[in-house]
Amino acid sequence: MLDRIGAASIDELFDEIPKALRVDSLPGVPVALSEMEVARLVAARAATDGRPLNFIGAGAYEHHIPAPVWALTTRGEIYSAYTPYQAEASQGTLQIMYEFQSMIAGLTAMDVSNASLYDGASALAEACLMAVRAHRRSKSARILVPTTVNPTWRNVARVITEGQGLVLEELPYCTEQGTTIPQALARYDGQDITALVIQQPNFFGQLEDVDALSRWARANGALIIAAVNPVALALLAPPGEWGDDGADIACGEAQPFGVPLSSGGPYVGFMATRMPHVRQMPGRIAGRTVDLDGKPGFTLTLQAREQHIRRGKATSNICTNQGLLMTAATIYLSLLGPVGLERVASACVARTCELVSALSGLRGVRAAFAGPRFHEAVLLLDRPVAPVLESLAAGGIIGGHDLSRDYPELGHALLVCATETRTSEDIGAYAQTLDRVLGR
């Protein structure tokens, strides 16, 4: 091959790199291992971590994943393809995108969805940026964000939007109900607010009064950004029906649709909107069209919004997205269907109810909020949460998420979660272990 190139050595191919810059070893990288050796090393590490019983949600939810989901998603033709730039050679990926978009539009009751963003947190950030672009009349770039919105998502939204001058203002919540106080909005009446974010269910697992909040926003000329758990949408009013005429942008984390917890990623953000705003939406979109022979087919569309065409004027810098996870979510939803999803959601509600009863029956534990909830709840302990969680972990139970750093006002608050995967025995085991831990 070198002959053909006309080079004497491979090294010669690097002769345009200034000599002074060249290195000739990588001392920080260990020597190669065989596949067998790596497999053994990594499997041993995985075994160290084990499979404790999990009761955390807080933005990532453990659901049963039907076996076909990953058997199909890891097929080489899906797994090892690139973004479908050559539509004719990527009809599989493109049709899956179109189906995903249709499912998300159906679930949220919005007109149009993209084919994924990185994750729920960054999707919220993108939704805020999009609201500013979409709401031409609003000049303030002020967005109201209840403190009942996932605190990490709020952090991410701030980091990603501050460069463009957005101002995210926090709304307080009712410490009795664990929900946003609609009255708190009164002080913004008549002000130029670009958008109001509403998370449903909120970070505490409680249900917000989305209709009242949406009506306020609409009345005050603010756009409505809905951040929703998509499993909950099987039971809860979808963003497209909030208030009188629905939200403007719906976004969230589709990880619960067949994507494993896997330490935090890769997950899959989603976003849907109304048709008039579609050109402001970030992310890939597949559209149905026809070919030279009039045969229907799919292609990437509205690419003029995207960085590879629009560069500095694009709606977002996103390029690589979460296509594989979007595929898993699409297959998951195909397998569950509307009835299956509803059963999962109902089981979540029922299990969490059971969990709250079981735990709040213990001495030193009580539920923080009344009101309806989906699959999470805040418990108040009679002592600091962190050491309790460590003791539980030693007993094989991942007991929940400590809220004391993000919500110090709540005291020793613990966020717990139970999905359809937690059985009565699991809940019993948790209650028993917690009782023992607190008994000490």
Partner: protein, 487 residues
């Protein structure tokens, strides 16, 4: 006779379901006020229908596992299957991101070692794994540059310099960070025009974003010069690591003087692209930017690994994702790097470069025009079909579509924008010489076809599930979600 696969919704029949999948119903206790009125529109199909549908759809894709896929700038190399199988061990898949670190030491050991290896291959002082793709890595980098200048009270620095050859994410990122973009031209030999650089450097310069080797497929020879000028002007240097594959173990961005770099782990360190993602845009920083790294980062106290967060890095720009980034992608990169080891890294650079130069030579022999004929190819190179477009009316896009009929995925078309009728070709190190020869032969055959029957080439492809698709109609008569027919 091959029928187009219907939509999953079209296979749906009310009441049908993959019933074994979900647990028996429980009664939900959601107050009516919050309830959904009508069930969402989702397909109702059997497990077999779903399996058959998605299996058939998958067969309509070109992919690395089935075809040569020389998409320039995308590093479509083969990803060893073991990276996937180990990242999908049940313990890793089942771990909740907020579980106490005492229950995740195995996982965190992998992440810590990955950080260390990435420092080593880039020559940077610190690494944060949290960005979820290249573009988010870029965002992170520019946000850190911004934070750095602000922390020094250097508030006027709001311009980012970007060469015209840059990937679209570079200027898009600068905009997201609230920066002004100063584009500079490339010289006819592909290198940056230093005079143009000097002309834009100013007290407003926050930094420059460079890809090296750049997306023209050549290594920037005067990188030391550039580094000196930008730093002298008070700006920082950002390295777009999308092309890291080309120089692994040969030259380190840190040694070139860059202050911050993102890596596309999904390109260089092996994660299949999944039809569009996921990726990881891990960032490496020099000393100056260490305090601003996004959190969380894995730290080690003796034998114990833990997350470093805002308390450890109070000047951090903050968080970029719900948890720690794309952990599964990071595990794949970890396995890949351990299998390759230090020697393997160098082999990557050597064979990807050898393959690119060989294929360029083959295509030039076949009469194609290299965009930068006097330069070495890096791991990719550009040919321009300006002549063919002019003389035969057959464009780069026509060649691209016809290649599909030959069983090859097309190279990147019409990027970088400054080379007319270009194909950016990146064969990668995992392809054999036979595959490269087959591709060169196909290109030569298409050239002959273009001469003999241009119209035939312009109407390609012929052998795929669909012929050439109407993009204009797709954008004008927008059909982006299936709706049930109302009767």
């Amino acid at each position: 006779m091959k029928a187009i696969e219907p939509l999953i919704f079209e296979l749906s029949r009310s009441g049908r379901a993959a019933t074994a999948q979900y647990p028996p119903a429980s009664v939900a206790v959601i107050p009516e006020q919050f309830q959904r009125r009508a069930r969402p529109v989702l397909p109702e199909v059997s497990e077999l229908q779903a399996v058959r549908h998605y299996t058939r759809l998958s067969q309509m894709n070109f992919s690395i596992d089935t075809q040569f896929y020389p998409l320039g700038s995308c590093t479509m190399k083969y990803n060893p299957k073991v990276c996937n199988s180990l990242a999908m061990l049940p313990e890793f898949l089942g771990r909740h991101p907020l579980a106490p670190v005492s229950t995740g030491q195995g996982f965190m050991a992998c992440m810590f070692e990955l950080q260390e290896m990435l420092k080593a291959v880039t020559g940077m002082a610190g690494v944060s794994l949290t960005p979820m793709a290249g573009a988010q890595g870029e965002f992170t980098g520019v946000a850190m540059i911004r934070a750095y200048h602000r922390a020094r009270g250097d508030l006027a620095r709001n311009e980012i310099i970007v060469p015209d050859a840059a990937h679209g994410t570079n200027p898009a990122t600068a905009t997201m960070c609230g920066m002004k973009i100063r584009e500079i031209a490339s010289l006819p030999d592909g290198d940056v025009d230093l005079a143009a650089l000097d002309a834009v450097l100013s007290p407003a310069t926050a930094g420059i974003m460079l890809t090296n080797p750049c997306t023209l497929g050549v290594f920037e020879r005067r990188i030391v010069e550039i580094e000196r000028r930008v730093h002298a002007a008070g700006g920082l240097l950002y390295y777009d690591g999308a092309n890291l594959n080309a120089i692994l173990g040969k030259v380190l961005p840190g040694v070139m003087g860059f202050d911050v770099i993102h890596m596309n782990l999904h390109k260089t360190f092996s994660t299949p692209h999944g039809g569009g993602g996921p990726g990881s845009g891990a960032v490496g920083v020099g000393k100056r930017l260490l305090p601003y790294m996004p959190v969380p980062v894995v730290g080690r106290d003796g034998e114990h690994y833990r997350w470093l967060d805002e308390r450890d890095l109070p000047q951090s720009i903050g968080r970029l994702s719900g948890f720690m980034g794309n952990a599964g992608v990071l595990l794949r990169a970890y396995v890949y790097m351990r299998i390759l080891g230090a020697e393997g890294m160098e082999r990557v650079a050597e064979f990807s470069t050898l393959n690119a130069n060989y294929l360029m030579a083959r295509l030039r022999e076949a009469g194609f025009d290299a965009a930068y004929p006097d330069r070495r190819a890096s791991h990719e190179f550009i040919i321009t079909l300006r002549r063919q477009a002019h003389e035969l009316g057959v464009t780069a896009m026509d060649f691209a579509k016809r290649l599909l009929d030959y069983g090859y995925h097309a190279p990147t078309t019409y990027f970088p924008l400054l080379v007319p009728e270009c194909l950016l070709i990146e064969p990668t190190e995992t392809e054999t010489r036979e595959e490269l020869d087959g591709f060169a032969d196909a290109m030569a055959a298409i050239q002959r076809e273009a001469v003999a029957d241009a119209a035939m080439v312009k109407a390609a492809p012929y052998t795929l599930p669909v012929r050439r698709l109407d993009d204009v109609r797709a954008a004008k008569q927008l059909d982006v979600a299936w709706k049930p027919a109302r009767d």
